[in-house]
Each structure stands twice: as C-alpha cells, then as structure tokens.
Symmetry: C2
Subunit: 310 residues, 2 copies
C-alpha cells in the first residue's frame, strides 16, 4: 500500500493545515488533488493509502460532494476526523492599505463567513470567486486581485501580508475533515468515538424515519449528525447520513446497527473512529442499562431463562 | 415429581372444566384446592407438579390474586394457557319453575355476567354470594337457595336441572386459565406463542413506561396484555405484567427481554407457551426485519464490518 495521503488541494488551504494536525501525516507523502472526487478515486484505485477531505461545515452544513461520494461507489471507510476552527485573514501584497482594495477573492464557501466583515469594512469591493482560497492568494500575488481571504498560514507561501486576521462572521465556525481509506478493521475504541452509517429506508411509510431513529434511541445512543441526501431515484427519495456516538465494538452500537440492517433496504457502514475535539470530560458513561457489562449480564439472564434456570 | 395437578376448586367449576381440556390432564391426578394461593403453594413446596388457576377474565380483567402470586414469592412459570367461554346455566331442583325462585346464588365474579339477565327475568330475586358456583349449586341441592348460576356441567353432579342455559351479559365472555409449574426449560415454540414477564421500573421518570414498551416495539413485537399491579411500596408504585407475542427462543423476543433486563430494576420471566385459541391462521409472519433469519444475517453483517470485510 503506498505510504501517501491524497488531499483536497491545492497546497496552502485549510484542508492541508487540518491534515498536518494528524500525527500519521508526518510519515506520509501528502499529495494534493484538484477535487474531492479525484482524491477519493485515488484511494479506490489504490494510488493513495487514504484521502483527506472536508465533510461538514458548521456554517453551511454537510459538504454534499463528499457525502455523495461516500454514499455511492465502492465502499470507503472513515479512519479519522479533524475539527478545524476557520478564521480568515485578508491577504494583500506588501504596501497595500485597506483603502487601496477594489477587488477581493476567495473560494465561494468563504463568502458567507466574511460577508458581514466585507459590508462593514469594504462595502464597495468587488468579489471574484476563485477555485480555492490558496488560488485566490496566488492571483493576488500575480496582481490580478487586490486582496484574498485565506488562512493566515497562506501569507508566507505567496509573499503576501495579512492586513487583518481572525475574520469570521459566525462564532465557532469550524470545518470537519475526514481521513478516508479502504474498508479495514476499525481502530480500537478510545471511549469517545463516533460511528458513521448511511441508511436507505425500505419504503417511505409514515413514521419510517422515527423507526430508524428508534434503533438508536432504544439503545441509548446519541446522534451527532443527521443529513438527508437525495438517492437520485426522484423527488422525495432520500437516504440518511448519520453519525452516532460510540464504536461498532460497543455492544449497544452493534445491536443498533443490526436493528438498522434488519429494517433498512440497505445500510452502509462508514466507520468507527475517535471523536475529534473530545477530551477526557467527553468520555461519558453510557446511559444506564447500555454498557457492555449490562449487555453481557442481560444476555446471560435470557440464556438462563431459556434453559429454565431462574 | 408427583404426577398431580392442583387446581382452584371445588370440583365442578369452570376451572375444572377448563383444566380437563388439556390432554396432559388425563394422565394426572387432579386435586382441588380452596384458593389460588394454596394451589400455587402446593407447586412451590413440591406437593403438585403444576397448578391450574384463572388469570384473566374478559369482563373483569386480570385476576389480581393470581397475578400477585406470580409476581411475588418463589419464581413460578406458566406452562400452558386455556381460554374458556363462560356462559351460565340457572340450576334448580327438579320441579322448580322460574316463578318459584326467590333466592339465587353464585360466586361474586358471576354477578356482573348475569346482572342484566336477572333484571329482565328475576327482578325480585334475592342474591346470596357463595364461595364458588359449585358451592352455590350444592346449597341449592340442600334446599338453602332456590337457584344457582353455574356451568351447565354442574347440574348432573348436584342432581339439579338447568332451567335456562347460555346466560351471559357480555358477548364472548371468556376466562383465561394458566397451568403454572416450577421454572423449567420452556416448551419448544409452536409458531403461535406468548411470553409473559413482570417488569419493575428502575425509577418512575417521565416516559419510563414508553421506554419499556419501546423495547417490544423496536423488535416488532405485539403486546397482548398490559396490567399494572401495585408493588406494595406505596401509592404510585406499580409493576407491569405483560404478555407479548412470541417465544423466548425467537431472536426478537430474546433481544427485547435483554433490553428490558438492562433498563429495568427487575424482570421476572413467567414463561413462553402456546397461545390458546390460536389456529393456523394466527401463525402470522413476524414484522419485516424481525425474523430469526434476518437477525442472524444482521449479526453476520455487523461482524464483517467489525472485521473490515465489507
């Protein structure tokens, strides 16, 4: 297996910064790809060991390109996740002052996060979308635009200066990234884990989604993400991307997944992996009656009843 | 083990008639006891192999004496149930006409089922309660009362005549009886079975009962009886006697019982046994996704996910 990670390029974006927070990234070659699709395809065809891509944005929600890639095609698995706080810097060529700026550029996803700042500080500046924030910075370097919104870390790479930093409209704007590889045995549970699945309902009957969610609720499992995605089979046909608290090796999670497998048309397991940003204080005790020990004790009790030893 | 069945006496009551519908009763000595408690105690101390007692009446509901005996004390198990349609005959001494009847007698439980008939046919007759319908018949034989409400089958035994038969206020008035023994391996499933349990909640939080019922609903299991009984720990403290469709050897039932064992303060298994009155047409297919085959397939799938083979 090649010791390389594909990631959504170009270099110098938030994705690369997030990827470099993973200890295992230090021992891999990191190769930028032009799209989420091409990065994931690199994994599917065996060009890369894993791919690192954004999957959820606290301002915009699920990143549909990534979700749709995980939902369809050859199965992939999430190995790790990274949460990165997103604040922008306004990058300019040395010598440029705020009053000189007539054009600004960034990736379209940046716009909702800098909109208020722009209205208050550069109400007359003209917005030009770029393929990535790093591309916008390069175009500023080349003189095409006056300023770019990008991570402060991009300034040095493109010989620019951060005229302003910490720009973000929403407090706690974060992007969640995932390291995706081919199916493998999930890493052992850490106690603060997350399990991702995609669910297709058997039919769209009243209460169908409630039945799906009941499989988690009955086993005391909290959900951390519920995102519906069209299945492509027409208006009203959705599948559900769900992140649930816990690890597939937890008895309560395994039993909930079995329940879903029984009642759903299809279930795609997307992995069990450590929850990003979870500290010791987040390793919460399972809800009363849902610990592995209680599952084992209950199973023993039923076996005794089946044998008439009670 | 003594080859005898204890039953709620005296002889000549509906209980005895119901007991004699069981093929296994033909090979046992049938011994009447004066109360449900004494019949069940005979089993607990090993005097009798099993006891046959009424447990539910379609007019009056659960028979609390029997439920409370099963809920407390040394564990017992229901082996079989019998449903008997209850219609009364008006038994008199030969020669007595309707117009001669001044006093009528029966067990108090009979009264709600003959009340309308009495109002319409013997509005002035005086009611005298007896310890059992058979006792009432004996007292008519001895000349103490003019007429007794009892099963038609009691007439011959007490030298009486059925002046009227088929008396019942409620259509389809039925009594359910159970054959109760010491804990043993439940009989193999027939496909139309019932499982009885008693549940004690861990605490009385809002939605607590809904959580208990959710353990059944999540596995597609219908309930056939839900009767609350005071626990004796003060007003508002109840346990729940539940009859559920299915057999403890069905995967869906076993998993529901495990779920209850995990979340309840206590669960008492009262047995899995053939459903009385169920014909071939009642052997319904389990709800989609809850057959044993689907449980096994789902379990295999989760095991493959845990191993990274998907």
């Amino acid at each position: 297996m090649p010791a390389s990670y594909a990631y959504l390029g170009p270099e110098g974006t938030f994705t690369e910064v997030a990827l470099r927070t993973l200890p295992e990234a230090a021992t891999r070659e990191l190769i930028p790809y032009v799209s989420v699709q091409s990065a994931l395809d690199a994994v599917r065809v065996g060009e890369a060991e894993a791919a690192f891509v954004p999957i959820e944005n606290s301002v915009e929600g699920g990143i549909t390109t990534t979700l749709d890639e995980l939902v369809a095609g050859a199965p992939l698995m999430i190995y790790r996740e990274v949460l990165l706080s997103i604040t922008f810097a306004l990058l300019v060529r040395p010598g440029t002052e705020l009053s000189d700026i007539k054009t600004v550029s960034a990736h379209p996803a940046a716009q909702p996060q800098v909109r208020n700042w722009l209205r208050n500080n550069l109400p007359d500046a003209h917005w030009e979308s770029a393929a990535s924030n790093a591309d916008a910075a390069r175009l500023v370097q080349e003189g095409q635009y006056d300023a770019a919104f990008a991570g402060e870390f991009a300034a040095a790479r493109y010989g620019l200066r951060a005229l302003e930093t910490g720009i973000h409209d929403a407090e706690n704007a974060q992007t969640r990234f995932v390291l995706v590889g081919r199916p493998a045995r999930p890493a052992a549970p850490t106690g603060a884990d997350k399990t991702s699945v995609v669910l297709w309902q058997r039919d769209d009957h009243p209460g169908g989604l409630r039945d799906l969610l009941g499989e988690f609720a009955t086993r005391g499992i909290n959900l951390m993400l519920l995102q519906s995605r069209p299945t492509g089979a027409g208006i009203g046909n959705y599948c559900f991307c769900i992140d649930a608290e816990g690890h597939i090796s937890d008895r309560r999670v395994a039993e909930a997944l079995m329940g879903l497998k029984r009642i759903c048309l299809e279930v795609r397991f997307l992995g069990s992996y450590p929850r990003a940003g979870a500290g010791v204080e987040d390793v919460s005790a399972p809800r009363l009656g849902t610990s592995d020990e209680e599952f084992v004790a209950a199973s023993d009790w039923v076996a005794r009843c089946q044998d008439g030893r009670f």
